[in-house]
């Protein structure tokens, strides 16, 4: 890769790193896994940068690599498990029980969706991709994306109402 292309790659990746990490986190709900997914994504992007940086929809292409990396990760879940003596999650000192419960609610509800619905909702409503772009990323038709997002949102609403009922 030429130095000018490397500079463009570095600039693009550095600028998108935060968004990629957050998107990956929404998909997998684990920051360490999210970082692994982002590393895989930018590695593959580097390999294809010669062609990819000319794409009009470079962000969509990057999202596609990310979603594929996440799908791949789902297929080998045992690779992610290891024994540890300490629990990584520590409750924030400043947050009371009620606040923690409220803060986690939407993320928890999202993680209860099936992987494809979750990916469709995240891509459509968090990454702001169009139906067609989402269809390209997920490798399905626009109609399937509409169906996935509609059902995903319906599930979210249903889960929200169930959570609300339990709280009341």
């Amino acid at each position: 890769m030429k130095s000018s292309e490397e500079a463009a790659y570095r600039e693009y990746v550095t600028g998108r790193l935060g968004v990629l990490r957050r998107t990956a986190y929404l998909l997998c709900r684990d920051w360490h896994t999210a970082d692994d997914l982002v590393s895989t994504t930018i590695t593959k992007l580097y390999r294809h940068w010669g062609r990819a940086h000319r794409f009009e929809g470079l962000d969509g292409y990057t999202n596609q690599i990310l979603v594929n990396a996440w799908r791949d990760e789902l297929r080998r879940p045992w690779r992610r498990e290891w024994a540890t003596d300490t629990l990584p999650d520590v409750e924030a000192e400043s947050a009371g029980p009620a606040l923690v419960d409220e803060r986690l609610s939407h993320l928890d509800l999202l993680s209860q969706l099936s992987p494809r619905r979750r990916a469709a909702v995240v891509l459509r409503f968090y990454c702001d991709l169009s139906i067609e772009q989402t269809a390209t990323v997920l490798g399905c038709s626009a109609g399937t994306v509409k169906s996935l997002t509609a059902r995903g949102l319906a599930s979210l609403r249903e889960l929200t109402s169930q959570t609300g009922e339990r709280r009341s």
Partner: protein
């Protein structure tokens, strides 16, 4: 729907410092491209010479292998590898002497960005599709050759007494992973789940077969680890791990990583289900034998 996006942004916990190292990725990929670039001229010559030899040696592979008195169908190899290499005679898992064996593992031919389901020929959808049935058959043959005829259940759909089922994979010529998984059941009439088995066949991975490799942050040391070289020059690493973090049941898993001379990675993993069945149903040697089976290829 900006409402949802705002809510997710608001609720997302503070991100820890990023462990993504852009410079390290670029450095690694520069080295990789240099390495590939150096070997390009040599591989082109090998491809031309090997294609002729490959046509001759690939045909016998399709005739199947005899396993424990039964004929297991191993799919015929596709005589179209990019860099076929022949190796001296080796022993097959069934104990028969093979004169030659192909160790070329070309990546799948499919458009980038699609998956195996989409790349499947029309009329073969849904799964198993494409070369999935070949992989399923070859893997089932490898398992039977190594451990007899265990009862397997499809861990995804719960159908008992099924072979290991190909589950598709990303269809990227630069990277691909084919996976099959199954639950291992006790003999009839019991339906006790003894453990799980999963096998991946991958390209373009960066797995290590070094027991002293740098481990992932937080990853526990292996209970045992052995390295060896396979009969066809494969690098083999067999690790035994105790897994079950964050509240999940504790079980022992054998993790076999095999890197073939062509760069293909075969990854075999098998473990118990939890405290009641902590030990894997298969031994390390059996799992290595599964992974070294020369029929285990999609080509």
């Amino acid at each position: 729907m900006n409402e949802l996006k705002d809510a997710l942004d608001r609720e997302m916990p503070d991100a820890p410092p990023s462990t993504v190292d852009v410079d390290a990725v670029m450095l690694r990929e520069r080295r990789r491209s240099r390495r590939l670039g150096t070997g390009a001229a040599g591989s082109a010559a090998v491809a031309v010479a090997g294609l002729v030899a490959g046509m001759a040696v690939l045909v016998p592979m399709g005739s199947g292998s005899s396993v424990a008195g039964q004929q297991v169908s191993v799919p015929a190899a596709n005589p179209g590898p990019t860099t076929p290499v022949t190796v001296p005679g080796t022993r097959t898992p069934a104990g028969t002497e093979a004169s030659t064996s192909p160790t070329s593992w070309p990546p799948p031919k499919c458009p980038p960005g699609t998956n195996m389901e989409q790349a499947a020929p029309e009329g073969q959808r849904p799964l198993p599709v494409g070369r999935g049935p070949q992989f399923t058959a070859a893997l089932t043959g490898a398992v039977h050759a190594a451990v007899g005829s265990p009862r397997l259940a499809d861990s995804r759909w719960g159908s008992v007494d099924q072979p290991l089922v190909f589950s598709g994979g990303p269809c990227d010529p630069k990277y691909a992973a084919y996976m099959a998984a199954a639950a291992v059941l006790a003999p009839r009439p019991s339906n006790t789940r003894l453990g799980d088995l999963t096998v991946n066949l991958e390209w373009d991975n960066q797995y290590s077969t070094d027991c002293q490799r740098t481990r992932v942050t937080g990853e526990a040391p292996a209970l045992a680890c052995v390295e060896r070289t396979g009969p066809r020059g494969e690098k083999v690493m067999a690790e035994t791990q105790r897994i079950g973090a964050q509240g999940s049941p504790v079980a022992i898993w054998h993790d076999i990583t095999i890197i073939r001379p062509g760069g293909t990675v075969v990854w075999v993993k098998c473990g118990g289900t939890g405290p009641s069945q902590p030990n894997p149903p298969f031994t390390v040697e059996q799992l290595i034998e599964i992974g070294l089976n020369p029929g285990l290829t999609l080509s």
